[in-house]
């Protein structure tokens, strides 16, 4: 894992001290709310429906047990004993008092964490594949690239006031688990026919009011050119992106309006002008230096599929279901990747109590080389676990009530906080997710349905990624009533696709029935082994529309 050097630590400490001064001046009235708001947003602090909310960055979703224990401690000390993992691999606290925030930030800084650039019109926390460094299909661990981007983008003076927020995601595997094509910049690590590793670049993806899939503007970027090329993209955006209309300010609109071809030409032109020998140079030694922080842990030589594991799978049906759904092959023989579901039946997607945080931290320290990952699907991962330890880990997760065997299944939903917490929401998301998960509570049924991603947003800003849900649900306000629009066939992987709207929206008390109708329709018409997305690709919207609106 990356460890702060003296520069990182002094930057973060200085920022905490600066913000402490700003909060003090705000509370004495020396600065107004209008003056203060951009300052607090630069530090990840929002005002939501009930209180202040802080969004804490977990760079590329990687953290350790000490940091997780601190996140637990903070939730007890300053909040109400829980936190909420988001679709950007961050954690949010919902019940903060303004005058507590400087102390909270100092506590975070003591474990090399912060909330810098988790809000505001700047380059946000870079996100990545939660299986980085562990995935069997990976070309290269994406985290060194993410860390290089983090260092480049942190307090980048030219890009502190962009037209709008800016999100970058990196995947190191051909199977995209980081949803790179729905980011402002999506980076895929690729290998060319000479065996050199470089980057394939997408620009202008994003969800929200005007969803767009990223345009592929570079098939192979040599790795030493990464920062120069990113700088060229963000510079073109910073110069030409619209500042007159917040709804048209994201880079996706610029790319769309100028055309991908012209935008690419502008970027390449800027890229040619940039001095690649100086600040933005990325020599192999520097890449190697950063990569060292992410060197693989000392894996043992282990036999695959130990007898004890196979016996436990044979004898314990619940454990077998959990292994089937939540355990993923590791690149090293004898190891596994464990997914910890934060989607208990009837629970709040992404929420975790302080005690559960401590429990996961202990499991990470004991069994996973002290590493934890947060996923953009609002779950956690123990990335490097010995297969022989799986049964013991599962038993501990059962005690922690974190052993729901539903990863990738219908109850493993993404849901934004929605109207229960969020100032921007039009409708509630969480109770819809809870009702759906209760409707499909029976795990055998979920396994029979198979891979199905439901994503729920409480407003058009699409924090719940509804556009790219296999089944997407968007909450809307119809004359003061909560209604829900359904989309089908969306996907956020290497075959990213925006879902199609089924038709008129459904009221709160009918939306779960509607989802069940969609699922039942799929189960009825699928061919053996066909996934929801495959069925949808084959039959299209019509059969679903027919059953959904049959009664109307």
């Amino acid at each position: 894992m990356y460890r702060y050097d003296e520069f990182d630590q002094s930057l973060v400490d200085a920022r905490v001290a600066e913000f402490r001064g700003q909060v003090a001046r705000r509370l004495t009235g020396d600065i107004t709310e209008d003056e203060f708001k951009p300052l607090r947003l630069m530090n990840g602090l929002y005002l939501q429906l009930h209180a202040y909310m802080l969004r804490v960055a977990i760079p590329y979703g990687t953290f350790n047990s000490r940091q997780m224990h601190m996140l637990a401690e903070i939730s007890r000390k300053y909040d109400k004993g829980y936190g909420h993992f988001t679709t950007r691999q961050n954690i949010q606290y919902n019940w903060l008092k303004l005058d507590d925030v400087p102390d909270l930030l100092a506590d975070l800084a003591s474990v090399e964490m912060h909330a810098i650039q988790t809000s505001g019109n700047c380059i946000r926390n870079t996100t990545s594949d939660q299986y980085a460094g562990a995935a069997a299909d990976e070309i290269e661990d994406p985290r060194p690239t993410c860390e290089i981007i983090r260092q480049w983008s942190t307090f980048h003076p030219e890009f502190s006031f962009l037209p709008r927020k800016f999100k970058i995601a990196v995947t190191g595997a051909p199977k995209d688990r980081a949803a790179v094509q729905i980011h402002d910049i999506g980076i895929q690590i690729v290998e060319n026919n000479k065996g050199e590793v470089g980057y394939s670049i997408f620009v202008g993806g994003g969800l929200g009011r005007t969803p767009m899939i990223g345009k592929h503007i570079r098939a192979f970027l040599p790795r030493q050119d990464l920062l120069a090329y990113l700088e060229a993209i963000v510079r073109v955006y910073n110069m030409l992106g619209r500042r007159d209309n917040i709804y048209k300010a994201r880079i996706k609109i610029l790319v769309h309006e100028t055309s991908a071809a012209e935008f690419t030409r502008l970027v390449e032109e800027e890229f040619e002008k940039i001095d690649k020998t100086n600040l933005l140079a990325l020599p192999d030694e520097e890449i190697a230096r950063i990569s060292k922080y992410f060197a693989p842990p000392d894996f043992e030589e282990l036999a695959p599929s130990p007898a004890a594991l196979l016996d436990a799978i044979d004898q314990d049906r619940d454990f077998a279901l959990w292994v089937k759904a939540n355990v993923t092959p590791h690149k090293v023989q004898g190891y596994s990747i464990v997914n910890v579901s934060l989607k208990p039946i009837g629970g709040v997607p992404g929420d975790i109590t302080a005690d559960q945080m401590d429990g996961v931290a202990e499991l990470a320290r004991e069994y996973s080389f002290d590493e934890i990952r947060a996923t953009h699907e609002q779950n956690l991962v123990l990335p490097h676990v010995r297969e022989t330890d799986l049964y013991a880990i599962w038993q501990r997760l059962v005690e922690l009530e974190l052993a729901t065997a539903n990863i990738g299944l219908v109850s493993d939903m993404i849901a934004c906080p929605g109207l229960d917490y969020c100032n921007l929401a039009n409708a509630r998301s969480i109770p819809v997710a809870q009702l759906i998960s209760e409707r499909f509570a029976e795990l055998e049924r979920q396994h029979n349905i198979g891979d199905l991603k439901i994503k729920i947003s409480g407003c058009i800003n699409a924090c719940g990624h509804h556009h790219v849900g296999h089944i997407g649900i968007l909450g809307v306000d119809r004359k003061g009533e909560e209604y829900y629009q359904i989309t089908l066939g969306g996907s956020a992987d290497e075959n990213t696709r925006l879902g199609d709207i089924t038709g008129p929206s459904f009221p709160y008390d009918k939306v779960v029935d509607a989802v069940e109708t969609v699922v039942n329709t799929y189960v009825d018409i699928r061919t053996p082994g066909e996934s929801f997305l495959q069925t949808y690709a084959r039959v299209g919207l019509a059969p679903f529309k027919e059953t959904l609106y049959a009664a109307a």
């Binding site: 709310e33 005002l47 008092k97 303004l98 229960d420």
Partner: protein, 107 residues
């Protein structure tokens, strides 16, 4: 259900968030914001509401509260009930966690 852009018709309550802790508060009189909706002043007169709004702006300047606005309430049940889900959730707390927010403090 984002904040209403203009005032609703009918009885209204003036609300804001308190600067120091972000808590939801309601206007009771020139000197008092209360945490409990049932203690809020209900305006049925447009002029009185406008005067209170001007007063609230002064309190924004005095750094007591943030972002005041009026919302519609329904009095037909004999209590002050927010007309929108958004204001109901602000008044009580998250609908999915009855152990949190004002609803928990009241219990």
């Amino acid at each position: 259900m984002s904040k209403p852009h203009r005032k609703a018709k009918g009885p209204q309550v003036l609300t804001a968030n308190r600067l120091v802790d972000g808590d939801v508060v309601y206007w009771r009189d020139e000197t008092t914001w209360v945490a409990n909706l049932s203690e809020a002043r209900v305006f049925e007169n447009e002029d009185e509401l406008s005067k209170a709004e001007a007063d609230a702006q002064a309190q924004v300047k005095a750094d007591k509260i943030i972002d005041p606005y009026a919302f519609g309430v329904d009095l037909s049940s004999g209590t002050v009930a927010p007309a929108s889900m958004r204001e109901l959730i602000r008044a009580k707390g998250p609908s999915i966690r009855l152990d949190l927010g004002k609803q928990a403090e009241a219990a």
